[in-house]
């Protein structure tokens, strides 16, 4: 599965983006997410005001590629730092200091280290944002007024209308069986 999922995109063909259910606690949300995923819904997402262990797994999202991005970033930093220093100190601007070798690699270690961290760290943040599809100024979920509480104390589950098993009436009745506080249709 691609890391940047299509159904996370705000652009949608159907007039309904999905059905959203609101829950009171983290426990309820995780339970509901497990049940929804077990019921065969694959295109769903959950929202919580803080990271909940196991929630991403509950909606079937097990692996992200951030670590790979950071590894590539860090190695890029390391290789560029070493090649830059080698090129400067040995090829383009050699300085003879007391007859010491131009390729004095021990003194290159620090800049290599720093640039590894710099590139790795920047790739962690930029990679995380890019894989998350952020910045994204508009998103349909914000059309639900109650959703403002997702950043405070409420927990939400959404089944996207792009899910093959999605059916306005059936999905709604399934979600009500999970005993949410409310169910809202999310216009796209």
């Amino acid at each position: 599965m691609s890391d940047v999922s299509v159904y996370e995109s705000p652009i949608h063909n159907s007039p309904t983006y999905g059905l959203m259910a609101e829950f009171d606690s983290a426990e309820e949300l995780v339970t509901a997410a497990h049940k929804t995923h077990a019921a065969g819904y694959k295109k769903l997402d959950a929202y919580s005001p803080f990271p909940i262990e196991g929630l991403a797994e509950a909606i079937g999202f097990h692996k992200n590629r951030v670590a790979l991005v950071v590894l590539i970033g860090g190695l890029t930093g390391l290789i560029s730092a070493y090649s830059l220093q080698y090129w400067v100190a040995v090829i383009t601007y050699p300085t003879n200091v007391g007859g010491r070798p131009y390729h004095s690699w021990p003194s290159f270690i620090i800049v290599c280290f720093e640039l590894t961290i710099l590139f790795g760290g920047l790739s962690a943040v930029i990679g995380m944002l890019a894989l998350n599809g952020l910045p994204m100024p508009y998103h349909p979920v914000f059309n639900v007024p109650e959703f403002a509480k997702a950043s405070e104390d409420k927990f939400f589950l959404i089944v996207f209308s792009s899910d093959p098993q999605y059916d306005a009436a059936a999905t709604r009745s399934f979600l009500s069986s999970l005993a949410p506080r409310m169910i809202a249709e999310v216009p796209s």
Binding site: V30, H34, F61, G74, G120, A124, V125, P137, H139
Partner: protein
């Protein structure tokens, strides 16, 4: 039931968050400081003072740009002076922020969640203050970009075998990583502010800064991975920065600088002064903004313990310097020891020992660790002591090195003092603004500390 078996002993320590809080009270309490709380006269009055001090820095730097570094007390043999003393002091203060946010995160010290946000802000502001000094010390700050390797018409490149070039990379990496670490931690809280702001402009500003964060489980999953990796990268980084700063000294051959103990001793000193600054800021802030529920006695006590431990490492560093002065049999090293104890700067050295080693030992007593007044005072003393340490290292070594004919004395001028005091004003000005425009405690990380945030049933449901 396995979960219960893991906690057989009752935790009798003061909790990290005072009992009775919910997700919503935490959110409200912290975000209201930014969104609802009116600006008090005290805030304005304090701001005028610190902003005035910051303007003094602008005057001092403006005059410096006109006249050059001759307005300072530096002259051969003391070429470094206040600029380097203050640079090392400020950079050191920044270290506590990264230690709290990165190292304590890796060690799963949950108490860090209440203090990491403003400690990281403190890091940024301290590094910004630190950065000014080497820049203006170059004498021609408008050419400071020459420090970076870039293709230029002079066909010149930096010398990568010089510790001063390493420093450029270490400090700029440190600033960048601290900034993105801090900003990344802010994103979910900016989303909270966006959702809670009633003013359309505030909604837009916080909304733009939050970049459309919507608390999605997939986003959190990547966010947590990125945060953990960033913490893992920042951990060696913070240890490396002061190590590289110490190389500026240790690679030189001046007595008192040329020692292998410098890197660990500098790093410990940095964390020492950083925690002192965290306490100096946290104690008044928690009282003024009513945050004693989140920054509890536990935080103050833990910070005091870190200070005590790093202070002892610093004391070991001093002891080893003195020991090597005697044991090495090197006449310059033993003279340096004599000169510190009996030379013209002996009172400064005595003050240093008092501030950094003797006075903080009272922290062994719990009474001093939990009394906010005493703790604030001791932290302040440590800040002074750590500044004196850098003064002793830079000045005492340079004033009297190898050849007696080239000895001298260092007298800082009023411009030196104005620049130093000015950076304190700049640091405090940023801090003053920070507490009013951004959540100074990480809201989402505090939410995750509440017992309601723990999910237990997940295992059974999977079946």
């Amino acid at each position: 039931m396995a979960a219960n078996a893991q906690i057989p002993v009752e935790d009798r320590r003061v909790p990290v968050i005072a009992p009775g809080h919910t997700f919503s009270t935490i959110t409200e309490k912290i975000s209201n400081i930014v969104l609802k709380r009116p600006i008090s006269l005290g805030w304005i009055f304090g701001f005028l003072i610190v902003f005035g001090m910051m303007n003094m820095l602008m005057v001092a730097l403006g005059y410096l740009f006109i006249k050059g570094t001759g307005i300072w007390g530096i002259n051969i043999p003391i070429g470094w002076g206040f600029a380097i003393v203050n640079f090392v002091w400020w950079i050191g203060i920044g270290h506590a922020g990264t230690l709290i946010s990165a190292i304590l995160a890796l060690l799963r010290q949950t108490w860090r969640n209440s203090i990491n946000r403003f400690a990281e802000a403190m890091t940024l502001f301290a590094v910004a203050c630190a950065g000014i000094f080497p820049l203006v010390h170059t004498g021609r700050p408008w050419l400071a970009y020459w420090l970076f390797p870039y293709p230029n018409t002079m066909r010149y490149w930096p010398n990568f075998r010089s510790p001063l070039v390493w420093d450029v990379f270490a400090v700029s990496t440190y600033l960048t990583i601290s900034l993105v670490f801090w900003f990344m931690g802010l994103i979910p809280d900016l989303a909270t502010l966006r959702d809670r702001a009633e003013n359309i402009w505030l909604q837009r500003i916080y909304g733009m800064l939050a970049m459309g964060w919507r608390n999605s489980a997939r986003h959190w999953h990547r966010y947590e991975t990125a945060y953990l990796l960033l913490a893992g990268l920042a951990t060696p980084l913070v240890l490396s920065v002061h190590t590289v700063v110490s190389f500026d000294f240790a690679v030189g051959i001046v007595p008192g600088w040329h020692t292998t103990i410098f890197p660990p001793y500098f790093v410990a000193g940095a964390i020492y002064s950083g925690f002192a600054m965290v306490l100096c800021l946290a104690i008044p802030i928690r009282a003024i903004y009513g945050l004693k529920d989140f920054i509890t006695e536990r935080h103050l006590e833990n910070a005091a313990k870190v200070m005590l431990a790093t202070g002892l490492i610093v004391a070991y560093g001093y002891a080893m310097e003195a020991f090597m002065g005697w044991y090495s049999g090197n006449q310059y090293d033993s003279f340096l020891l004599w000169n510190r104890l009996h030379g013209p700067y002996r009172f400064w050295y005595a003050a240093l020992l008092a501030c950094n080693i003797f006075i903080p030992q009272v922290l062994w007593l719990r009474k001093f660790r939990i009394s906010t007044g005493w703790l604030w005072l001791i932290s302040f003393v440590v800040l002074v002591g750590m500044w004196l340490e850098r003064f002793i290292i830079v000045i005492v070594s340079l004033t009297r090195d190898f050849v007696t004919s080239s000895w001298g004395m260092y007298y800082p001028t009023k411009w030196d003092w104005m620049t130093f005091a000015g950076t304190i004003g700049m640091f405090l000005t940023f801090m003053w603004l920070f507490v009013r425009v951004l959540p100074m405690i990480s809201i989402f990380e505090l939410r995750s500390l509440l017992p309601e945030a723990q999910v237990h049933e997940a295992e059974e449901v999977k079946q």
